[in-house]
Amino acid sequence: GCSGGGGGMASCRRLSGAGLREVLGPAQGLLFDCDGVLWAGERAVPGAPELLERLRRSGKAALFVSNNSRRSVAELERRFSRLGFRGVRAEHVFSSALCSALFLRQRLLGGGGDGSGNGRVFVMGGEGLRGEVRDAGLRLAGEGESATAEPVRAVLVGYDDQFTFAKLAQACGYLRDPQCLLVATDPDPWHPLSDGQRTPGTGSLTAAVETASGRKALVVGKPNRYMFDCIVERFGVDPSRTLMVGDRLETDILFGKNCGLSTILTLTGVSRLEEAQAYMASDSAAAKDLVPNYYVDSIADLIPGLDE
């Protein structure tokens, strides 16, 4: 059945035939990673829009949890629509950009402050990330400050394709204040490009900031739990009736394990089946947590598990 990923070791079984109905039947909802699961670059995974449509018709919830900190949830809503996915609204989408902003709002404003006198955030990232931080009611360092500007109370490291040595030095200056938080949107070391190459991820930039400052970053994104807490707060999901679907063992599958969700690995993205099997064969307890309960070649393979 669909019991939470807590008890017993995951065994990476292919999900097909009768197994599909047994697993999907009891599920109230599915959490999906986006890149490598729903789409690759500008192309939807074939059958993915139909899967979401069938979930809707079956009365099952679909929510989205992504470590990608480049885009605001408003941009993501437009992207879903552009790539052929119907009915996905910004409120269904939990990106590491949004959740980092929520995290900083909690820590700096104590949840609900009016933003005055509570410090600024130095954001190392693009306009999507900066916008989410502003929308959370926080002020950014480097925007209209005066000589009496409030102190910088947090450095936020995200995906930053304009990262430079100068910004790194600036971040370290702020982090000399032990009260200044160091937060990272996600730990991903690299992301795939559509031609098989890789582009460096937030994890590599965070490593530079940690090394220079001697501090460890608080990481908002998967595999840590915070984004799940945001989902529960907004939608109240029951982990024992919710499935996590992702393509990256070290983030998506471990996230599922950490949050008590059963996990499904899809093979249209980063991780290969051989990697999951290697983790399963490993002696280390940490490796076992990276093994998914189930796998499919593509999320389109889930469609037969839903009622017609």
């Binding site: 394709d161 790194l168 582009t199 590599s204 490593a207």
Partner: protein
């Protein structure tokens, strides 16, 4: 070489130099995401046939007045994390540079003193290479730090403890003949 466009997707299309067989990371005040991208591309293209070398792992470079700027170690860590592989580090505390000195100058470690101001580079290298180590206090290290390592139970921290210290290398003058 100029980048072919504003975004990483463009940078990943720039032609790679077919002759490149190593990525060398040193102190680079012009370090950028674009350079990190290119480094990653060379390392992925070459696999084990493309070396990844770092000049050193220093976290910080101290400036006058007590401030510091990020050190080469930060840039090495960024490349290592993106490429998910470890760099060969040339600088202290690794022994490669000592081996270079030995091969040129026929040094006897038992009759050689290493003088430095950093415990985790100068003193650690000296100790690892069998030299007598002398800490000078005119740089980044305080005596309190040394005492902390000396009193700890940790063997790694013990290896940061010098044999001797002076307030300044000028204190060595009286020991030398007229």
């Amino acid at each position: 070489a100029a980048l072919p466009g504003p975004a990483p997707a463009d940078w990943a299309q720039a032609p790679l130099d077919p002759a490149v067989r190593a990525v060398l990371v040193g102190f680079d005040e012009h370090f950028s995401y674009a350079k990190l991208c290119q480094a990653l591309r060379y390392l992925l293209r070459g696999g084990p046939d493309c070396l990844l070398v770092g000049t050193n792992r220093d976290h910080r470079l101290p400036l006058e007045g007590g401030t510091a700027i990020p050190g080469t170690g930060c840039l090495v860590k960024a490349v290592e994390t993106a490429a998910q592989r470890e760099a060969f580090i040339v600088g202290k505390p690794n022994r490669y540079m000592f081996d270079c000195v030995v091969s040129e100058f026929n040094i006897d470690p038992a009759r050689t003193i290493m003088v430095g101001d950093r415990l985790d580079t100068d003193i650690l290298m000296g100790n690892s290479c069998g030299l007598t180590t002398l800490l000078t206090l005119t740089g980044v290290t305080t005596l309190e730090e040394v005492k902390g390592h000396q009193e700890s139970d940790c063997p790694t921290r013990q290896s940061l403890v010098p044999h001797y210290y002076v307030d300044s290398i000028a204190d060595l003058l009286p020991a030398l003949g007229e």
